[in-house]
Amino acid sequence: MLEIKNLHATVGGKEILKGIDLTVKSGEIHALMGQNGAGKSTLSNVLVGHPAYTVTDGSITFNGKDLLAMSPDERSHEGLFLSFQQPVEIPGVSMTNFMRAALNAKRKYLGLEPLDASTFLKLMRERRKVVELDSKLANRSVNEGFSGGERKRNEIFQMAMLEPSMCILDETDSGLDVDALRIVAEGFNKLRKPETAAIVITHYQRLLDYLKPDVVHVLMDGRIVRSGGPELAMEIEQKGFDWIRNSD
């Protein structure tokens, strides 16, 4: 479903991605690990079309379509979802209005009628319970006054509302305590459909204990230097990343 070939990308004129090749099939979970500055977040930003990043070479195909030719909102409609590392506050825009605008934009793209108010609110209620998101939060402005944990739960809630086919979780475990991590991870497992694929960016094994990746990749200096099964993540947890660098 996602095919990245020889991807090179720069930010502020500096080359960060230096030839990424990655294929993710429907329903697969891929973990992306690596030290700070290796290019993990750059890859996720390039995938969703952040304007600060420039692709200088390579291609990305998503469900047979050229992803790089699409605007960020089109990519979202096509089924791409990013759980942000640092979800932004949007004062004055209520969660309800925000989600309604997002969901109806997607429905319009797919040629569907907008959801009526009661169906929409019912869906909101249902989905937010899974991640134990308080109804008070749902009535507030987007992420305004949310704690770190609430913001991450809110990301998973939005994922559940939009039902993407490909999720990128960018350090969704950062800033979470053990209980919050469990709620977010279990929420993700419950809310995703079997065919949903995911790229999980993380530094730690703990999140992967819940999400159970099919493939683990190690990113180093803008390239994938090693790929393997779940055991690779365990090995990194024990030995650190330098072990890979040194063994190359």
Binding site: P72, G92, S141, L162
Partner: protein, 439 residues
């Protein structure tokens, strides 16, 4: 400036013949003041951001002989705001429209109508000092009619009073409106003024409003401007707030050409309160200048001020707000905020919050911000599938919402919410009757 002096001198007899003594008695002093003051240049502090002489330079016609204007406002501006039932009145150009008054639904003693000689003669012109402002002087020397709104002591007017100002003319026209609002002790009233232009010609209006808020009275005044880009509005409002009384004044400038609102409030006795709000949405070549002065003259008074601008296109916005705390005004509680979104490289915003304190036991703050839409928020919304244009719209709306939120009159709040949305979507570029009512 000379054209107005010539006009006055040559038409003085006609002006006097068609007006009541209450207006005529003030002309001479106003004329002398106007000659002395002249139109203020941009070197005059309060007029730094608006070129007055330029706005008054073209030749406008005046309806000095008070010819009847062919218009039936009740047909042209049928009002059906959902859930907002108001007592509706019209001012056509600068004359109170007497022909079809609403069925008497006002409490006993309340008066809305043309000013007559008599009871309020001494109040008229007592706040609007002709010697300190050229526009007030010009308005006073040319005024021939005034809208009087009187609420006697302890009367609570439940139903809001709505006044629709209609500009109607086939040729470029100058209108000099006058409003006198007298709310006595412990009375309560809510007023809504809507500005519209029914014709696509150049209009120049001066408007002088005097508001007396008696002891313990509660007054809310909302002004909504939805005219055309060919309208120039110079509105001076003067308010005096007595002991323990409260005034809320909010202006919503949605469409217009050149707007200058000058609002001077005197908190003249202990415990008086004022809230001033402004919401400006400007684009194309609009020019909008809000200039306020709040004087704390007694102890324990409270003032709140919040003005927000969204400046788009090549528009220019200006805000200057001065808060003056006099020596005896101890325990003053005052907050002033001006926040602005400047959306294009060509748009301009000037902001000048000012605080002048002569008392030593006060709590005062003032501040302003000028910024652009938050790129991170825009991208976040786009990632969720909201187009960039829609995301920008939602952010602008959210920005304006803070002011709309202050309106206590719920149907009006909902209506404004809707109008602001339409305005941002570019569906409110032209005045076609009372949008507050008919859309």
């Amino acid at each position: 400036m000379n054209q107005y002096i010539d006009l006055f001198q040559s038409q003085r007899a006609l002006l006097d013949a068609r007006s009541l003594p209450v207006f005529n008695e003030r002309r001479q002093e106003a004329f002398e003041a106007f000659q002395r003051l002249g139109f203020p240049s941009r070197k005059v502090e309060r007029f730094k951001y608006t070129d007055v002489a330029e706005a008054f330079a073209p030749n406008y016609g005046l309806n000095l002989s008070r010819l009847r204007i062919p218009v039936n406002p009740y047909q042209a501006f049928r009002c059906d705001v959902p859930n907002l039932s108001t007592s509706l009145y019209f001012v056509v150009n600068d004359s109170f429209y007497k022909d079809a008054l609403p069925k008497a639904q006002l409490p006993k003693g309340v008066y809305v109508g043309a000013m007559q000689d008599g009871t309020f003669k001494d109040l008229f012109g007592s706040l609007a000092d002709v010697n300190s402002d050229a526009i007030t002087a010009l308005n006073t020397m040319l005024a021939q009619d005034a809208l009087l709104l009187y609420v006697p002591a302890r009367v609570r007017v439940e139903r809001p009073i709505q006044v629709v100002n209609i500009l109607r003319s086939a040729v470029p026209l100058m209108a000099n409106r006058r409003v006198l609002i007298v709310v006595e002790e412990d009375a309560e009233v809510r007023l809504l003024f809507c500005d519209h232009a029914a014709d696509d010609v150049d209009f120049l209006t001066t408007q002088v409003t005097e508001v007396f808020v008696g002891k313990g009275a509660q007054v809310e005044i909302y002004e909504l401007e939805e005219s055309t880009h060919r309208c120039h509005r110079f509105a001076n409002l003067y308010a005096d707030i007595d002991e323990g009384a409260h005034l809320t004044h909010a202006t919503f400038t949605l469409t217009g050409g050149l707007t200058r609102n000058q609002t001077d409030v005197r908190l003249s006795a202990p415990g008086a309160e004022v809230q001033l709000y402004g919401c400006v949405i400007a684009d194309e070549q609009q020019h909008i200048d809000n200039n306020t002065l709040i004087e704390h003259c007694a102890s324990g008074c409270k003032s709140r001020e919040l003005y927000k601008y969204v400046v788009d296109g090549q528009a220019e916005g200006a805000f200057a707000g001065r808060i003056l705390v006099h020596e005896n005004a101890q325990q003053t509680d005052s907050q002033e905020t001006n926040a602005n979104l400047v959306c294009t490289p060509e748009a301009r915003m000037w902001t000048q919050p000012m605080l002048e304190i002569y008392a030593d036991d006060v709590k005062c703050s003032h501040g302003s911000t000028v910024g652009q839409l938050n790129d991170d928020a825009l991208f976040y919304m786009q990632q969720r599938g909201i187009s960039k244009a829609e995301a920008q719209l939602l952010l602008k709306q959210a920005f304006a919402e803070e002011v709309i939120h202050q309106i206590t009159l719920e149907p009006l709040r909902d209506r404004l919410h809707h109008l602001v949305d339409k305005r941002f979507r570019g569906e409110l570029t032209y005045c076609r009757g009372c949008k507050l009512c008919s859309h």
